[in-house]
Each structure stands twice: as C-alpha cells, then as structure tokens.
Symmetry: C2
Subunit: 873 residues, 2 copies
Amino acid sequence: MAKWVYLFKEGDASMRNLLGGKGANLAEMTKLGLPIPQGFTVTTEACTDFYEKGRKITDEVREQIFEALRKLEEEQGKKFGDTEEPLLVSVRSGARASMPGMMDTVLNLGLNDVSVEGLANKTGNPRFAYDSYRRFIQMFSDVVKEISAEKFDEIFDGIKEKKGVKLDTELDADDLKEIISQYKALYKEEMGEDFPQNPEEQLMAAIEAVFKSWDNPRAIYYRRMNDIPSDWGTAVNVQAMVFGNMGEASGTGVAFTRDPATGENKLYGEYLMNAQGEDVVAGVRTPHPMSDMKEENPDIYNEFVHYAEKLEKHYRDMQDMEFTIEEGKLYILQTRSGKRTAHAAIKIACDLVDEGLITKEEAVARIDAKSLDQLLHPTFDEKALKEARLLGSALPASPGAAAGKVYFTAADAKAAGDRGERVILVRTETSPEDIEGMHAAVGILTARGGMTSHAAVVARGMGTCCVSGCEDVKINYAEKYFTIDGETVKEGDYISLDGSTGNIYLGDVATVEATISGNFDRIMHWADEIRTLKVRTNADSPADAANALEFGAEGIGLCRTEHMFFEEERIPKIRRMILSKTVEEREAALAELIPYQKGDFKGIYEVMKDLPVTIRFLDPPLHEFLPTKEEEIKGLAADMNLSVEEVKATIESLQESNPMLGHRGCRLSVSYPEIAKMQTRAVMEAAIEVKQEKGYNIVPEIMIPLVGEKKELKYVKDVVVETAEAVIAEKGVEIEYHVGTMIEIPRAALLANEIAEEADFFSFGTNDLTQMTLGISRDDAAKFLDSYYATKIYESDPFARLDQSGVGQLVQMAAEKGRTAKPNLKLGICGEHGGDPSTIEFCYKVGLDYVSCSPFRVPIARLAAAQAVLNNK
Amino acid sequence: MAKWVYLFKEGDASMRNLLGGKGANLAEMTKLGLPIPQGFTVTTEACTDFYEKGRKITDEVREQIFEALRKLEEEQGKKFGDTEEPLLVSVRSGARASMPGMMDTVLNLGLNDVSVEGLANKTGNPRFAYDSYRRFIQMFSDVVKEISAEKFDEIFDGIKEKKGVKLDTELDADDLKEIISQYKALYKEEMGEDFPQNPEEQLMAAIEAVFKSWDNPRAIYYRRMNDIPSDWGTAVNVQAMVFGNMGEASGTGVAFTRDPATGENKLYGEYLMNAQGEDVVAGVRTPHPMSDMKEENPDIYNEFVHYAEKLEKHYRDMQDMEFTIEEGKLYILQTRSGKRTAHAAIKIACDLVDEGLITKEEAVARIDAKSLDQLLHPTFDEKALKEARLLGSALPASPGAAAGKVYFTAADAKAAGDRGERVILVRTETSPEDIEGMHAAVGILTARGGMTSHAAVVARGMGTCCVSGCEDVKINYAEKYFTIDGETVKEGDYISLDGSTGNIYLGDVATVEATISGNFDRIMHWADEIRTLKVRTNADSPADAANALEFGAEGIGLCRTEHMFFEEERIPKIRRMILSKTVEEREAALAELIPYQKGDFKGIYEVMKDLPVTIRFLDPPLHEFLPTKEEEIKGLAADMNLSVEEVKATIESLQESNPMLGHRGCRLSVSYPEIAKMQTRAVMEAAIEVKQEKGYNIVPEIMIPLVGEKKELKYVKDVVVETAEAVIAEKGVEIEYHVGTMIEIPRAALLANEIAEEADFFSFGTNDLTQMTLGISRDDAAKFLDSYYATKIYESDPFARLDQSGVGQLVQMAAEKGRTAKPNLKLGICGEHGGDPSTIEFCYKVGLDYVSCSPFRVPIARLAAAQAVLNNK
C-alpha cells in the first residue's frame, strides 16, 4: 500500500518532490530539533492521484490522513472537536516549488460550536476563542467555499457600527457570538447547508480545496510563466495551531536572513504582537521591524537569530522564515529559500561564495537565469507604480519599463522622436514598414501578435520594451485614439508599459535605470568557465552587434538581411527589383542594392572582428516590401514608369493565403537566383575588403533559409559558390566561407541526413519549426492559446519555451541524422527559443554547438548554458 | 570497367532498365530471329553518368560507342562516311518507359558530301541519295541543333516555286543538290560553323542531344504527370538504316496488333510505299490501311502478320510495331506494348485472359489505374476538338470535359443553372460561399489555387470538371468578363474545359458521354479479389455517398460537416452562433442547427446502411462562414440586433494572418465545446433513429480534426463521450460508436504513440500534413512550384502524389508508433492522396487498413490497391 501521508518527524529535506518545499522543510527542521508545531503532510502524489481519480480523494488516502491525525492528537494531548482540549490545525498548500496563485492557508480549523467552548475554557479567554472561531468561519468560507469575504466584512462592520466602535479589539465576546451567528446564517444562505460542525469534514474539505487550487487559473498562469509542470501537484500540510493572538506575550512575524531587495547580509523582517498572520498581511496595524524586537524582547530575538543562523548555514542559502510567539514561547512555522530580486540574488550568491558556504558552481546554479532581464532593463519606480492606474495586461514581449506619449503610425512616432519626445508606438500589429517608428519608440504596444510576432522579435532585438497581443486595445487610426478598459487614450497622451510583466498603465510612470554590479561580472565569468555551449547573438546592425558583444556574445548566429532593406533610401530599390519584368531589369535593380548591403556587412564585420557571423539570405515574402497606401502606390508607379493599375496588379498577384507557408526563404532564390547572387557578392566583397583593410580573419557563414529538400539547398548553394568564387577570383584574395542552412521546415529535419551532405552547418529556426510542427501560426495563436492554457492542454507558450517532446524530437532527429552524415557538422539554434533557459538546457543535451539569441538575452544564455552543464552532471 | 554500350545481340527483354524499352525489345527480337537492322544501345546508365559528369560524355563511353560502331561496320560490311559502302544509321531515344517529349529520331546519320556520292553510286539512284542527304541535314539541324525546321521548308518551297512544281517527287537530283547547298549555308549562318562532315562527330552530337532531351521542359512535365523518376535516364539506340524510300518496292509503316482505340482483336495500322517514317507522320501523302497491303503485297503482309502474332504471343500483350520494306525485304524496326485508350486497355486485358495468354492478376496489373478517369467522365468529341481554339492550359484539377456559358458569381451561375443553361463558373478562386454556384456548374475554372484548392477538392467530390490555377485568366468582376491569351470572354459566352488535361477552349465544343462496359466490372471484380486495402470515399451528402457506392466504395472515410452549413437556410444560423457573445446564446444558435445536421447524417446513414461512416467535426476557421459583402453584413447585423460596426469588428477580429495554421479544427471545440456537443448530438441521434427505423447496424465514427497533442484529443473526446452517453441514455438504445482523430499535424505523427491512447482510429489528413511538413501552402504553391519543376528540385506535385520520403516518413512513423501503443488501431488516409495510385501502394506497404478518396476515384483506388499487392509480392 502506498504511503500518502507523512508525519513531520518521518520526513526530511531530501523529500521535497514528495512532501513539497514547505513539508520537507518542516520535517527537516523537526529533525534539527527546532521548535516546530507538529503535524503531517499529505503528499504531492496524493494530489496527482486526486486528479487521476477524477478529482476524488480515495478512501485509502482519507484513512491515512485520519491515522496521522490520531497520532497528532495523541502527541499533542488534544482531540479534534473536543470540549476540553480541542486540537486546532492550520492547513496549507506546499508545492515542490514555491507557487503563488494556489490556496494559501486556513487557520484555526477544528473549531465548531462545541470546541470553541473548549478553547474558551482552556485559555480562560472567551474573547480569544470566539474571535478565532469567527476568523475560521470567514477564512474557511472564503478560501474553501469561495464565498466572497466582503459579505462577511459587511456583517462585521455592521456590528461595529451598531456598537459604535472603531477597532476590532473593542468588540467583546458577545459581539463576536452575534457575528458568528450571522456568519453561519450567511454560510447557509450561500451554500444551502449548515456550516460544517464536524472537524473531520472541515479538514477533508480544506485538503480538497488545496488540491483543487493547484488547478485554478492563477496557478496555471504562474506555472506557465515559470515552467512548472502540471503533474507535479501540491502537498498539503496540516499543522497544530499555535496562537500569536493570545495576548501581549504572543505575536507573529516574517523575517529574511538577508535583505531580499539588496542582498545585504542583515536580518530583515517585521512582526506584530497579539496578532495572527493575516493581521500582518491585512495591514490593519503597522508591523514593527525586527530590530525593534531586539530591544523589546531580546531573549526571543536572540533565540530567533540563533535559529536563523542555524538554518541559513544548514541550507547554505538566504532563508525566509515565519514564526509565532505563543505566550512567550517561540515557534518556527516555516522556512524556505527566500525569494529575492535579481540584484540581491547575485550579491547573495557572491557573498556566500566569499563566506565559504557555497562553491562557484553552486552560486551559478542558484541564480534564476530569466531574472537577469531585470538587471539589463529599466524598471518602474515601485512607489510611482503603486499610484498608477492599471489599464490592462497582455504578453510581456520584450522586457523593460517605458513611459511616453502615444502615437499610432510609424511616421508620427518618428516625427515625435525627432522632436525629442519619449514615444510609445501603439499599433494593431507592426510590419517591417514600421521599423523606423519602432526605432524611435521607447516602448511598443500591439493589439495583436504573440511573443514572437514581428513587434516582439524586433523589439527584443533592439532592447525596446514591448507589450504585445493586447486584444482589449481597440485602435481608431482615423481619429487617432485607442480605447481600453473604458478609458480613451488619445495621441499624445502618456501611457507606461512594463514589458517584463505585460502590464499597461495610464500616465507617465517614473522609471529607474538598470545598473550592473561587479558581482554580475563575477557570476558571468564563473558561468563562462563552466559552460560548453557557445553563445551567439541575433543582430542585424553594427549597433546591435556592439551591444551584444558587451553582453558577451561570441559571434552572430543570425543576421537578418531583410531588415536592411526597409530604410528610406533602400526600399524604393527593392520595390523596383520586385516589379521588374525581366531578369535584366531585376539584376539592374539589385546591383543598386549591393553597395548598401556591402556597407551593412562591413560595419558588422568591423565590430565582430574575428568572431563568426552567420548571414541569413532574404527570407520574407516579397509583398512585405510593397506599399499598401494609395499614395505610396502612386509614387512607386510614377517612379517605375508603370500605371497604377499595373503596380496594383503586381501587389495583388503577390498576395498569399498563408504567407508563412508561401513564396519566401530560399524559394525566392530558386525563382530569382539573381537575389542570391547579389547577396553573395555583397557578403564576399565586404569580407574581403574588411580583411584587407583591417586584417581581421573574416570567415563569412552564409545561411540559406526555409530549405526542405537537399536539391533545393544544392541549387541555391551552387549559385552562392559560383558567385563567391567569381568574387574571390576578381579580388585575387583567398578567403574561407561556409554555406549552411536553417532547419525550420519539418521535412528538413526528417531528411537532415541528406541535407547535411550539402551543408557546412545547421541552424535550427525554431520559430518556424514550431509553427509548422504544431500547425500554429504565431500571429494568430493568441486567439485560442488562452483556452489551451485554461484546459491545461498546453502548459507553456510553445513560442517561448521549446516544445521538447514534439519540436524537440525533430531537433534531436535532425542533429543525429545530420551528424551521422557529416560528423563535424556545426549545429546551432537561432530561433527565439535560443534565449530561453529550459530550451538552452535541451540544446546542451542534444549536443548543439551554440545558441543564438537577442543581445539582451546573451547574459541569460551564458548563465543558462552553465546551469545546463551543472544540471546534467 | 563498366559496360556502357550493348550490341543488339548482346541484350534481351529483361534488360529494359539498362537498355530502355526500345533497346531491350530490339535485342529480344534479334534473339527471336526476326529481321532487325542491327545496331547497338548506349545504356541509360551512360545517360545518368552524362548528367553526373556535368553534361559530359566521358572518353570511356565514347570509346565503347566507337568500338560498337566498328563491330557494326564489320557486320554490315559498310563503313561510316565511306565513298563506296557508306554505313548510315538512325539514332533514337528509348527510356525505360515510353516517354513522349524527348528527342525522337535522327535518320540517315552518316551522310556527308563524300558518303552521299557513295550512296548514289551504290544504289545507282542519285536522286534518292541527295534526297536522303537533304532530309538528314534538315532533321539533324532541327532535332540536334534546334534550328527551326520552317527555315528549311522555306528554302525547299522556294526551289519548288522556282521550278514551278508542286510535288517533292518532281524535284530532280540537281534541284536537291541546290537545296543541299542552301541548307548548308543556312546551317552555317545559324550555327557559325560548317555542317559537320565527320560522321563520328554527327553521331556524338546526336547521342548528346538525346541525353539532353531527357531534361527538356516537355519531358520533365511528362515525367511529373506520370510519376517517372528523373534518375532513370534514357538509352540511345543506334541502328543501321534501311530505306523505305528506295522506290516503289520499298515502304514503311506502323501497325498495332489490336485496335488501340477500341481494343478490337484485329491488325490495325497504315503504311506508305516509297517513303521514310517522317512522310507518314507529316501527312504529305495519305497512308493506306494495312488491309490494302493484304491485297497489294500479300507476301510481305503475311510475313508481317506472322511476326506480329509471334511478338504478341511472345510479349503476351498488344504490340505497336514499326516496319520498313527495303526493295521488297521486310524489316522490323521496333516493337513495344502499344499505348491504348482506357477502354481498349480493359477490353484487351479481358480478351487476353479469355485467350489464355495472361492471368487475371496480369490483367489487373496491366491497366493504368489513373486512366480509368477517362471511362467515368465525359470527353470531348475528337473531331470537334481539332477545330476548337485553345485559349490556354492550367492544372487538370478535376477530370472530365464540359462546355457551357461563362458566369462569374455563384449567384449568377445558380440562376443560369436554374434556367436550364449549361454553366461554366469562372472565379479567381472559390470559397465555401460559392458552393451552390459550383453545384449548378458543369465546369469550374479558377485563376488561382492548386490541385487541392477548394475548387479542385469540391469539384472532384462532385465529379464536376475543373481547371484550376490558370494565372493567365484576368477577371474583371465589375464588368463581367475575363481576358486570356488576347481574347476577351464575356458573361454568357461559351467556353469548354478539359479537366483531364487542363486545356481551356473557346466556344461550345461537343462532348461524348462516358460509357462503362461489362469488362470494366470484370477487372474491378478481379481487383477486389486481390486487394487487401479497403476503399472508402470522401462524401458529404447522400447523393455523393450513393454515387460512391455505385463505384464500389466500402464506407465513408471522410464526411466533412462544414459543407453542410453553407446552404441558404443554414448559413444565418451558423453566423448567429459565431456572433454569439455568451455560451448560452451560442448554444441556442447551435440548437437550431441540430435538426439540419441530424437530417444530413440520417440521409447518409440510410444510403450507407451497415457500412462505416467517418464524420469529421467542424474544421475551417469561423471567418469562412461570415459574409464579406457590405449588403450581407448589414442584413446580418439587422438579423442579430447588432450594429454594423459590431459585426464588422467581429469579422475583423476573426481575420487571421495564416488561416491554415489558425483557429480551426479541434481548436474550435476547445474554445467552444458546445460545437462538439451539438455535432455529437446530431451524429448520435441520427444513428439511433436510423437504427430504429431501418434496422441497420450504424456504428458512427467521430473524427476530431487537427489534433497535435494527446490532451487536446482527450479534452474534445471527453465532451463527445459525455454527450454521446447522454443521448444514449435519453433514447434508451445501446449503440456502439468510435472516436478517432486525423493525423495531419506533424506533431501528431511524432507523438502518435501518446495520441493513440485516446483514439479508436487514425485517419491521415495528408493535405494538411503535406502543407505543414513541407511548409507549403497549397493555395500559394502555384507561385513557385513551376521554378521547382524547372530546376528538378521537385519532380511531382506533392499535393497530388505523396512526398514519400518526407511526409511518408511521418505517416510510417505514426502508423508504427500508433500500433505499438494500440495494436488494433484502425488506420486510413483521407487526404486527396488517397486516390493517387503511387500513394495507395505506399499506404499498402505501411500497413494502412483503408484509403478514402472522392467518389469518382474509387475505381482507381480499387485497382491501384490490387496492383499494390501484385507489385509487392
């Protein structure tokens, strides 16, 4: 028979997966001899079993719960529902990872009309007993039965008003009895049955509520944001009550062994005498800093510091502890590794290394890689934020905080930026045409599009804050305003965006600039010593490249050439190329683009010096380059000596039903080899010139996108090689160059052994590979992904975290097949996933050579790559 | 050293792959002792080698050619380019499969200014010699050097005019010498060099030309249409000339051992005395039927009949033979299994079985499955067709021939159809809204969309002729006309479409109705005895289902429920469902649809009786159901009590960037489970009612589309099962039902083992699976597939013939993984590929249980399924 329930004294810290973090630590502290109110833990396996059985707790689990309860009663010398020595317990959730969003706590469970008298008798404090009972009814009703707490507050306030008192403490036992009576009536009205008097029934309801709360929308959302699998489940801790509200010799508090905001090595926390935990949280009275206790109650303080130091040394990490003082006796209710800011995390990790408590490897393993984002981008001033009006929330598409004036077109945004204004660009969605407006903006808000929409990808590349896919935003372009949450925001009005949380605020919220400490460099240096994966960056300009180099990038894994064509001077030339009717016309138009492309590449080579640079050839469908506005179409027609109708006909003929699966990528070079020729010439001439001018050893890597068949790659590669050899011959300079391909079409992964024969390297384009493998257009996914999260079909955004079992299967297959055909094949990833820690670990495990991500994610990737090594030792 | 060249006497019929069909048969006939002008064959491997070496014939091959030539000279006692006994040869291509489109023949090769004198001396017939030489120069220039034959004709006609004669035979030797002189001058002008006088140089140029012709666009097109791989290559046959133009005792002809049009067992063919093969083809003189020879030259006739019978018995198939009579002696130049109409193929196969020459299995194996289309659809009257003006050609999307008046909207088409007109619906592309107009049409022409576009799929389902993707068609909807090839076709004008060839003709071309013979049933019956794959059909209505049953369908593999919603009465209701703002509104709207859906299903069950019916739940994105025209939007708004803006906003909000990868398939049921509930109720109530009313054993198969994840299928399946069980309980009737899924997303194939745990069956949706695995939108593919064919990257349309190495790999993987998890998992295919013979063979090999295809393809599938067994014995 499976063991579903453990007494605290039966467990220890190593049993975290089974007992949850809270349960395992309570067991460990019991073992360490700390003063812990005893109790038992219902395991995470019982939670999983609950769901497997169709949300039912089996009799077997139930029996083990009551068996543990009997032992607890025996040990405490108290009895559940007893008139003389009633046992009261708290019931709390406790998952493997600390997880807000779930049911938190029910206190004072076990009270009923009978045991409340027992408690009154035993403590000689009827007011305390009835106060505990009314708290319990309200908390149980709220947390377990989801009856709105406000309804109870109304009753409570009504009695206070009737009595003409202001403070809760001014109510006496009889008032509280009246309140209890009204509370029970409310409960019956809401639930259609009496408030449960049987403590066992109360307990089972509370345990069931904890299990169910594992699956509420907030918890699902939190798991998705933090890569926590839904099959972990939560444990439930049932613990004998101790009371901080038994008088002035009692109290309760929370403390951290170090400052969780700064990392400073100093006890940090607050407490409140004659209170239960909820009073501290509710803010009815202001808690005191721990330093006060040192003076007011030095014995308890010293005892607490003793435990705190013991626990920090024992766990070798900063601890977050809850404690209660019951009539002068200190109890520890909980300890856990404390949540901290990224800044504090880095300082604490470095300090613990310096204190000899942990190794450098442990320090590296301790930092949440994703949290580094906080250090690299501005954040909102916390005080200012509290006063700001939240308008809505959408996808945290590119981190950082920004406030500025709203503009609705790229042109308006650019003009305002030129005037020196801080600009927030608000668009239904962005397209490559908007690039200059995006550059001018400090923040970007879109109504449509996911984490890997155009807006999101470009914003991350530029390090600009972006919130995407806010479907509540309804834009009226004609009259230049948008509405959200009943508010109308006009052009020029201030809004503020938090790209790390996805929140949208009204007004000009103050921001705080990012600062990077010396400790950050220490951690990065240690990470670099550990990791084996190289970290490259996705950068399309010398500025992006320089930025990424500062963050430690070791090359460019993806240089997208199409972004280069959208600048004002260049776009007419690419349009001319698209509208050409003969190969000759097209070649002539392309010839005009060579100097620009060459200039771009030279700039990038000069920044990157001897580091590798992978240049991806033209990828998007050609219609993305064509104008959509009547006026621009007319201009283009005049420019090209064509009729407006002809230009419109071309634009129309290039429209596609599913552009993602259309005429793009290497398909363009198969139809128009002259495009590949032009790009090859620009790449090679730039490389040779920089080599000659600066003496760097440039080895260009040309990457052919959207390949699905070996012959297709060979066809384009033949064009590239022929052109490259011609340039080499013209210039008379020997230069090495590589030609490889993206693996982004499922078929390319399935036939990677064949494709590898023609490729010097593979780079996994996991954005497109995810779209095609899952059959989900990332631009349209927002329409239904929420239903998928709500139903737990998906637990994370497949465009942010690689779908390892599906897409990952193809990546692994392609890596193996590719290396079988060509053992020295270089393998990398350049999709958005390249900056996601869990994906980086996957890349390490399947043996890739490098990951490539946007410049601001390079430090995250360096850290995650080191953690991947440590996790898989 | 490889052997690249075989003398005829070194080979036999079994060496077809190496020597090509023509070469192998010449060798076989040599072995049989027939009078064959001797020669040698350059192998297909030499052709492949030619391409591998960058279109070069290696010295090794060249040496073997001349070695064989020397042996031929010796045997014939003649010498290449000799003044006394010149050896002349013909050079012909000959691939493994007979293949029009390649270079055909060069006759009289070996003639030059010297050997022509030798020929004149030896034959004592200078006119014959110079005539042969001028023919050779023209043919060599045309076929090998691609100089337009017309330019030679001009010279020839000029001399005739100058001499004032009408017939070629009226020119004498001197005239011909003059012609030769002018021909050579023309050659020099065109080629910048003298006409080659060295016979060896002539020979190598001709062989090279044959090799190159393997890769000309016509040959590539033919291969694509007939599933011939490009790496087969062609052989080249070099054969000593015999002359049918040496006088009245000489002649040439072509004959079939049976009638290739009807299959009648009777020698059929024609011949011409004093002529070379080209004269028969050119139609300068009218050839005589073979029956004339019987009277005019009974000895030769009887000898020929003797050989014909011998060859037919030997090859056990109808033969297509070429022969030449040189001064009274009969030579056989070629024999091959003759091309024949589908009608003749069936008759001949049955007759050969009855004659005891072949087995039933061989008869089944002999019929080209694809050709059966001809028997099931009307065709154009051949005589009428010759007079029709061809306007253009596009994709043969749905077979058959049709002529009618042009209409441009579904409504106009329907109105005209109601008036009794024959209607051709011409659209840029069709959408589900056009369904009634498509039903009213006898033919459909679209300017956009591939073989599996909406128009194509629906047309094939209905058995209506369709030509799709004709990009030359430019429609002006406003003024109701289209232009093509300089012609303007207005509403009401007649055009004619051949859906089997893709041709578009001007005017009302007469058609001939299809007729099916008793022999057809015999072949089908034999095929049924052999095959193990079941054949189902894709049918959405009782009429389609009844049609398919007549063609031998054994169930419905795909019943698409969305087509049912487009009828006039129903579409407002589905629109109301889409515009609903609450679950209750949506349920109310859906409730109104139940009676219609139930009626549809009852109709289908009643037709199919005890046969299985697989019903696919709603698949397309919802925006496909919404109106696009201002007027209809207004109507809908009024109907729904909404503002026009609200309706427009909903339409706008449902727009998708890539609808193929959007909110569709089971994703609809995850967002709106009430849709699945409604459909389940309709399916189950219909099944139970038909079971009760008619006593059939109905076992509904409910198919969930677009599944990519086990939890997704489970979620929808739970809704289905809950509803189905509720209906069963309400009705109090036990009924079996199955719930399965489409495998059409790559991830579903990769995780088929997991998905199988929730599925009773898999049906491979290879249309979507192809789109996603290859990353190609079928609606947009026409834009670039032509470049892919031209560059030989693709050899066939992946939407018509399954990409076995890519998509097939996923199908096989899914079949294996699925059966590993659930050994009795039923597997089928319901994509368009289910009617393609090569795909059917693949399905047989990977162990599927059934294929499902459009009704008119059912006989093809039955035959192909039998051939799959025979090919893999």
